[in-house]
Every structure is written in structure tokens, then in C-alpha cells.
Symmetry: C2
Amino acid sequence: MPETDEKLAAMRHSLAHIMAAAVQRLKPEAKFGVGPAVENGFYYDIDLGETKLSEEDFGKIEAEMRKIISEDQPFERLEKPVDEAIAWARESGQPYKEELLNDLKRSGTTVAKDLNAEEMGTIAGGDAAVDSVSFYKNGDFTDLCRGAHVESTGKVGAFKLLRVSGAYWRGNEKNPQMQRLYGAGFFSEDELKRHLEMLEEAKKRDHRRLGQELDLFVFSDMVGAGLPLFTPRGTILRDQLLGFSEELQRAAGFQKVAIPHITKQVLYEKSGHWDKFGDELFLVKSQETSDQFVLKPMNCPHHAQIYAARPRSYRELPIRYMESTIQYRDEKKGELNGLSRVRAISIDDAHVFCALEQIEAEFTSIMNMIKDMYGVLGMKFSARLSFRDDSDGYLGDPTSWEKAQKTIEDVAKKLDIDYFVEEGEAAFYGPKIDIMVTDALGREWQCATEQLDFVQPERFGLTYVDAEGTEKQPVMIHKALLGSFERFLAVYIEHTAGRFPTWLAPEQIRVITVNQEDPTVECANKLVEQARQLGLRIEIDNSNESVGKKIRAAEVAKVPYSVVIGEKEITSGEVMPRVRSDIKVQGNGQPVGIEQFLKTVANEAKSRVHKTSLHG
Amino acid sequence: MPETDEKLAAMRHSLAHIMAAAVQRLKPEAKFGVGPAVENGFYYDIDLGETKLSEEDFGKIEAEMRKIISEDQPFERLEKPVDEAIAWARESGQPYKEELLNDLKRSGTTVAKDLNAEEMGTIAGGDAAVDSVSFYKNGDFTDLCRGAHVESTGKVGAFKLLRVSGAYWRGNEKNPQMQRLYGAGFFSEDELKRHLEMLEEAKKRDHRRLGQELDLFVFSDMVGAGLPLFTPRGTILRDQLLGFSEELQRAAGFQKVAIPHITKQVLYEKSGHWDKFGDELFLVKSQETSDQFVLKPMNCPHHAQIYAARPRSYRELPIRYMESTIQYRDEKKGELNGLSRVRAISIDDAHVFCALEQIEAEFTSIMNMIKDMYGVLGMKFSARLSFRDDSDGYLGDPTSWEKAQKTIEDVAKKLDIDYFVEEGEAAFYGPKIDIMVTDALGREWQCATEQLDFVQPERFGLTYVDAEGTEKQPVMIHKALLGSFERFLAVYIEHTAGRFPTWLAPEQIRVITVNQEDPTVECANKLVEQARQLGLRIEIDNSNESVGKKIRAAEVAKVPYSVVIGEKEITSGEVMPRVRSDIKVQGNGQPVGIEQFLKTVANEAKSRVHKTSLHG
């Protein structure tokens, strides 16, 4: 961790303690779970019995926090034997801390697999059972904690409480529900202010709200949580985005295949995914046979079966199978969130089967597709190169790993990609590149990925015959350009605030009639017909509302272009298009012939640009 | 049943008895199951213990059958009290007959739900427990049987034993496996001969064999039975066929939606499908939550949820949702057969939500799509109009039914469709049209369907507000043009013997090089590049084989066009295309400029015709 990041984390973690101390002052009965520093701030999980915190309580808690800060209490570290610590927890009425301490005593932090990395950081270190644990104390407040902290409560920068939400103790539905109190924390008031403004903007752009307003997707209680149903408009976005991905892949020699969504369990036992996915797998029961089936959580083993269906020659390689298909993962209900986290995940997935010496060309080709895709989408990205470290647990020949990692880094350099290497972050089966995309609010999202796989070809016994007639093992490359389409769409709706570029817009042009009679309606219908011939998505608003109201409705629907049809347009054959403000158009505000206008928009959509000239 | 059909069935059923009698003479230990008349012939399920019948035994059995026929034994009907019949079965060592008789005694034929209609017909009638049962006797052979039979064994026309296969007693894997002995039976030797020739041709065209030879789809033991994996070539057929269906629907105002493959069980409890599908449903278990999920066996309830997600106005109707998506049905393993019967079924499904007065226009529009589709596919069809009868069990208002049935028949008349009405064949939820397509071998297949549904809108409480502001209930129309894509592909592979028309052919042109050096290879590559620019699917055979062998390989792969590139072609810029024999081409056998050739093929593909002119 760079030094500033470390300082920021210590400050945020100290704010978590200060918040807990403040809550304890106000509600002495509070029982505490864990309270880590997180991105942009901190939280603490608190059990207050029947008492529910709400935003109305934030002022009081913040005031108490400010008192503690002005008292400038030093953070003191103390070490206690684990049994003494357990006795302390029992006496102080902190059952959650007691449970954690018992776990630590028994088997160290490894037992607490259900806590995430941030949460782990708050309690203690070590993989083995521990003898003693560390505490931090400020004023009256003592907490089981590994640190680090700032020197004293006076040194914590700017903060603000943001929200409170339910969280099961250790993330498990069967455990008691606690209240997770979130705050933002930054070095300066300025940074905090910018962050709060960003949050305000993000709220306006919330994809769940825009998804409903723009009629893109719906959820149904009867279908189930995390299972979106895409409306006609949402399906256009889906088809256009996945279609663009497919187009890029097809140009690079990828071929479409089609697989079912289920498989017998044995396929995953063979591939090794059975153990890896565990509880995340949806199990499928046949009532007719005793076969145990599973909903596919990924597509590679199915694709490997197509490869394996007949002998392969080096002449056929690389073989590249692509398919945009839904995979299913049984995410925890509490973690489901609009389209950001779903159980039915559409991936623009593909798998390359190739010789080791072909990976440079393949990685280059895939990286070029990623550049093309995010170039068109207008989003910056950086690449995280996840390589192995010296630890055990990586499968496959170390020389191949080394060669592959060098190749991957060479490709990133050659293509002038903004990248960084993280050692020890590789998958056990091979090194990978994850693409981190930055949205308009400055948030980073992991989207595209390219992963090398030495293991699956081995496990499935995949082979090809080389030029000398020798049987060889291919390597596999897993790749996705958008990654999860659902998550990408969530990101992209918020990135664009729903103002989709013309090629993606579910409705590209809206025709507004000034009255509901011929020749107006006739002219409008003719325009619609012409536009559809050009492949444009056009709708007509022939309702009995005022023109002003209809124009406003087109703006709310964020339609790129709208044209009003009245007497002048009928006579002149020219329209005065209203252009959505984010679209750069030359010659805007001047009348243009209907055919010329439609052709221009059709070309804009076809070329997927976000700027155009209405006058040729 | 028309009189000839009745006579044919009696004759075939008599042949089943004669075959069983012959087997009993040869193998007195034989235990018999059921032996019905079926399409084109008859079968009998026989348990011979460890003895396995094979085609080598057919001659002997046929000779014995001929003896029985020449003995011209009369078929005598006798009635026995059921207890006496049970005693007879026990004494004759016929445990399967004994089991059936016990069932009949207990609760009539309704208990034997696991037997199909033909099988039922062989044993007895009635829905309630029976007191007496009928037998038929010819010579030494007596069989529990409802009839009818021909007068005597001499009156059975022409027959031939065809094959023997395994069949579980009552279709249940847990029961003993018997041997199902099949024969063909016709009035005349001529008809039998024609049928055997058809079978011979069907064998050559078997889609399972051609599917492998043409590399269209594969199965994997690890994925599971009935779950095809489509290779790149098969996926082209899939995309082209489903894409054509989508194109026709889009032109008729259908909009694509996208739904997940699972749902909570409660959706089907509400829709009524939970009871209807029973064992055919794949149950999906979440390990994270207690929700019970199901793999969707149809799409309508999901689509109804999209409709129901917001209030609807009459102005929006008809709302037409289409989606080509896989649905899952847990078919019995023994009934799975190549692509003809699978567990993962891709349907070009759609649902129209409309007012009752709109169904004429919608049925007309859908019927026109069906005409267009099968016109292009070059297959004749007739329509079965399945209407209600006077019995109970049909839901919805009788006046609406009557009106709807009249409308449907009017549409069929108006569009000059070859149709017939079957009363009593409607679904409980509404009348329907099933399209019976005839293949090149004269076999009939049910493919497209249009079904009216008065019930689901009611169950889901779907509404719209009409012009007067009143809340009304829409009707639903279910439709599919191809039906199950997998089954259609099986039919179409056999219909065309794998000689797909150019628009569908996975590989449309093959380029054959006379040597592996420039300028030949350069010229071939340039041609390939030009062809791909035109959207053509073209492959190059640059292998080190003789030109003759390469031409032969292109023929085996049933590629519509192949061109040889050698010195003459390079110099002249003209090629002499080899055209697959079923494609009607004007100007075949004359050289043609490369560009002209490629444009012609591209136009042929684009227009989906099956004939073309190479010389403009």
C-alpha cells in the first residue's frame, strides 16, 4: 500500500472507533461487531436490540464524535493474553467480540473466512491459533483491534455520516441482523465536499431509478430477486452492446457456439469448479432420472467439450469460441443490488484454444478489441496485470508462467496501455489482465478480462497434433469485453445518466405532431416509414397533448433527436431537429431536408460515433 | 377415425398378435407386455430373460408368422371375469399381463397413465374399475385385448420386421427392461415396398449421422443426455433460422425481450403450470436462500410479468413480445433422440397481449409469417384447427370461445390455408392452430403453432384501460414459427439431406487451390477477402491434397459452391464455379468473373431463394 493510502486507512479506521465510542456514549447497551475502513470512509456493525438508528440520529452521533475529536484522546495500543481478552469481552457485554476472540484462540484468523479483507484487518493477524491479541483504547472506549490508527482523535480530517443499513452478523442470514452505520472520511473538507457532490450526482443517476424511468428492465417478486426481466427498450441496449462485442470478436476470427444452461455435476468435478464455487452453485434436480445437474456458473467447461468432441490439428488453431449467454450464480440475497449484482449474469464470453507460442498474438488481438470497445463507449481504462508470486498453489509449469507473464506485459507496453502489475493476484490456473474502467463520476469498475489457463486443458485432457505429428496440450484464454452485461449496463446508465449515444438509444428519433389530423399525421407516418427503412428506431407521439408537453416528454425520455411536424414542415419538406444537448452536431438550429436528416442519423448510428454533421 | 384407418389399425394390431404368437412358438418362455398398432406398423414388448433378439432372428420369426397366416386362424373374442383373467395370467406365466389385470380390477385404465394411447388401446376400456375383460384368441395364442382385429390371420396384408430395441416396462427406468420388436404393416406389398424405400432413404438422411458428418452439433456424456452443444457450423444454422423468424416477427411489430431461465416456483403456481408440468420440471435449489426455483419449461409467465410491470392503455395494444430462448423439460432419458427430442429446447417464442377484437388481425399476421417461413424453407404444410367440444373443462367465457373459433377458421379460409378442424382438441385455455409440415419423405411434423389463451391473463390479473377509461382484460396469443428449433433442425436436416440452401449453408463457398504457393494462394486469399466483405461464409482448402480429392471433400461437406483457383483463373480473373446439383443456376458451366460470381451468391443468400443466375 502506498504511504498516503496507509495514512488514509488509519484515519478512516480511527473514525470508525470514534463513531463507535460516540454511539457507546449515547447508547451504552450497544454491542459491536466489526468496524473497518473502506473505500471513501468507514463503517461499524452495531447491535442495538430493538432500537433502530435512522438519519435523524446522525446529527447527535456526529456531535458526540466532534466532542471526542476535540478531546484529542490518544489511541493507545495494549496487548492482552487471549483468555484475558475473552473475559474482558464477556464482562463488557460484547458477545460478538467474544465470539471472534474464541475463534482467534482456536484457529487464528483463518477461521473467520466469512469476514472480508477489510473486516479481518480490524481484529487480529496470523493464520494459526493466537495466544495474545491487541487492543486500541481512546478515552473510555476499548476495542479489539490490529490497528493502525492515527496518533490521537484530533487527527482525523473531515467526515460525515452517510447511511445506516441492515447487515447480518458475519454476512450469514441465519445470524442476528445488525445495523451497519456508514461514514465518509477524507483528509480535507474539500475532498469530502467533492465526494458528497459525487454521491449526490450518483443518486440522480442511480441506474435502478433510471432503469424504471426509461423502461429498461423490471423485477418481479414472483420470478425472484436478482433475476431481471428486460423490456423491449432494455433488450435493444442488450442486443446492441452484446452485438457490438460480437462484431469485434467476429472480425478477430471468433466463431459463435451455443450451449445449454445446465450440465451434469460431473463436468464441474472434472474441471475443478465444483469445489471452487461451492454454495454459489444452483443445484438442479431431475425428477425423471437420478442425474444431478447444476446451472452453469461459467461456460468454459462446456466450450472445452466442443473442442474435445473430435481430434484437432495445429492447422485449426487458434480455435476461438464465443457466446453471449446467461450464467447463474446464487449470490446472497442481501448483496443483490439492481443490475449491479444479479443472479442471472449475461457474459460476452469467449475461449481461445491455442498453442503457447500463439498467446502473444491472441492477447494483442483481444486487447485491441478492448481498446476499440471502450474507445467507442467513451470510457478510460487501466489494466491490472495479475501475476504469480513465489508462493505455492499455482498450477502449471513455472517456465510457461514466466514466459506468458512476460508476453502479457510486452503486449500492454506495445499497445501503450496504462497498466500496473500486481504480484500474487494471479488465478491459480494462470496470469490475467483485468480492465478497470473509470466512469464519468470517477468511480472504477472491473469490466473486461483476459485470463490465461494452463489447468483446464490438462484436466479435460485436451490435445492437438502438431506439425510433427506429436500430441500437444493447448492453452486456453478466457476473455470478456463487457464482462457481466448487467453490471456493465448499470455502470453505463450511471456513466451516461441515461443519455445513450445514438447507436445505443432504444428510441433514436421521436416525431411530434402538432395536431392529430391529416396531412400532419400522414407526413409524420411517412417520415417514420422512411426512417425504419434506414434501420432507425423511431417513435411517433401523436397524443392529444400540447407540443410543449410532448417536447418535454421526449427530453425526459432522453431521446437523441426529436422533430416536430406541422404545416411548415409539410410545405417545405424540411425539419428543424431538436438535438439532445450532449450530442455534438454541426449545423444545429438550421432546417434540414427530411431525407438528409434521416441519413445523417442513420450514419451516426451505424458508425457508433457520438458527434455528427447534419449538413453533410 | 376414417374407415380405412380403422381397418389398417385392426390389421396392424392383428399382426402384433401374430408376431407374439410366432415368438411364443419359438420361445415358449416369452413374457408379454403390450403390443399396439402404431404409425406404419406395430410392435410388441417382450421379456425373454437373458435371451437377446437380434436382426438375425427376424427371418425365423417372419417364417413362423407366415405359417400362422397361412393357417388362416380366426380371431375369436372372449370375455372373462377379471378374477378368472388374473388366474389365467398367473397360470400362463404372464406376470406383466397379471399386473395390468390387477390394475384394471382396481381402478380401470385410468391407473395406467404411464401407457400411451396406443398401448392403452390394446388392453381394455373404461375409466372405472372393471368386472370383466375381453380376450382375443387365434390358434394357441390368447391375449388380453380390447380389439379390434381382422377376421382371421389370413387377412393381414404385407409386413416386415424392422428392428428390436430396449424399452422399460411401462416406460419407467426402475422397471425391468423388455425388448420392443417392431414391424411394418401395410395393405399391399407395393405400399410396404415404398415405405421400406422411404426408411432406407431416411436412414441415409438420419440427422444424427449428418449432424456429426457436417459437424453441426455434439453431445457430451459429462454434460448429459438431451443437452446438445452446437458447434460453430450448427450455430450458424441456429442463428440464421432463428434470425429469419425474428426478422419476420419484427416486420409484424414484435419486440424482443430477455428473461432469465429460472423463476421462483410461485410464478407457476399462480399460472397453473406447476400442476400441469409435474415431473417434467427441473427443480432448482438455492444453497444461499430457502427460495425454491424452477427451470422454465415455457416463457409465457415471465413475459406476462413484463406486461404486468406497469399500467397499460388500449393505445399500446397489441403488445407483442418475442424471444428465442431455451426452455427446459425433463424428458424421460429413453425418449431422448438426437435433436428430435431434447431437454434444452430453443423456441422462437412470442406472446401477443391484445383485445378480443384484435385477434383476427393478429392471427392473420402470424399465419402470414408461417406462410412466408415455410414458403422460403420449401415445405408444404396443413393446419389443424383444434377447437373445443361440449365437454367441461374448458376455461373462459363460451361466447368468446365461439367468436374466437369462428375468427380462426375465417382466417384460415381467407388465406387459403389447407386446414381441418378437430373438435375436442383445444387446450383448456383456448383454441389453437397447429401447423403440420410435410418433409421430402412424406412424413408429417408438428412445427409452428398459434394458441389463444383466455386463462393466463385472468390468473395474473392482467389489465388495460380502454378508450372509455374502463379496466379490461386482454387475451394472450402464444405463437412459434419453427417451434422447437432443435426438432425443426432434425426435420430440416433430413428434409434436405444436409444440402442446405445457400442462405443457411454454414459454408457457402469453398475455394480450392491447385498448389500451395503464390500467386495461387494470393489469388485465393484475395477472393476470400472479397467474399467476406460481402458477408459470405467462405473457406479455403489449401491442403496438400489433389484437386480431385479436394473437390470430393467439398461435395461431401455439401458446400453449395466451390471454385478451383489455378493458373487459368489467375490470368483470366474468371472462375468456373462447381454448383451443388440441387441448386438451379442459369449459365452453369460457363466461366464467370470473380466479382460477378460473388455478388450473385451474396444476392442469392440475401434473398433466401434457392435458384439463381450466374450471369446477371
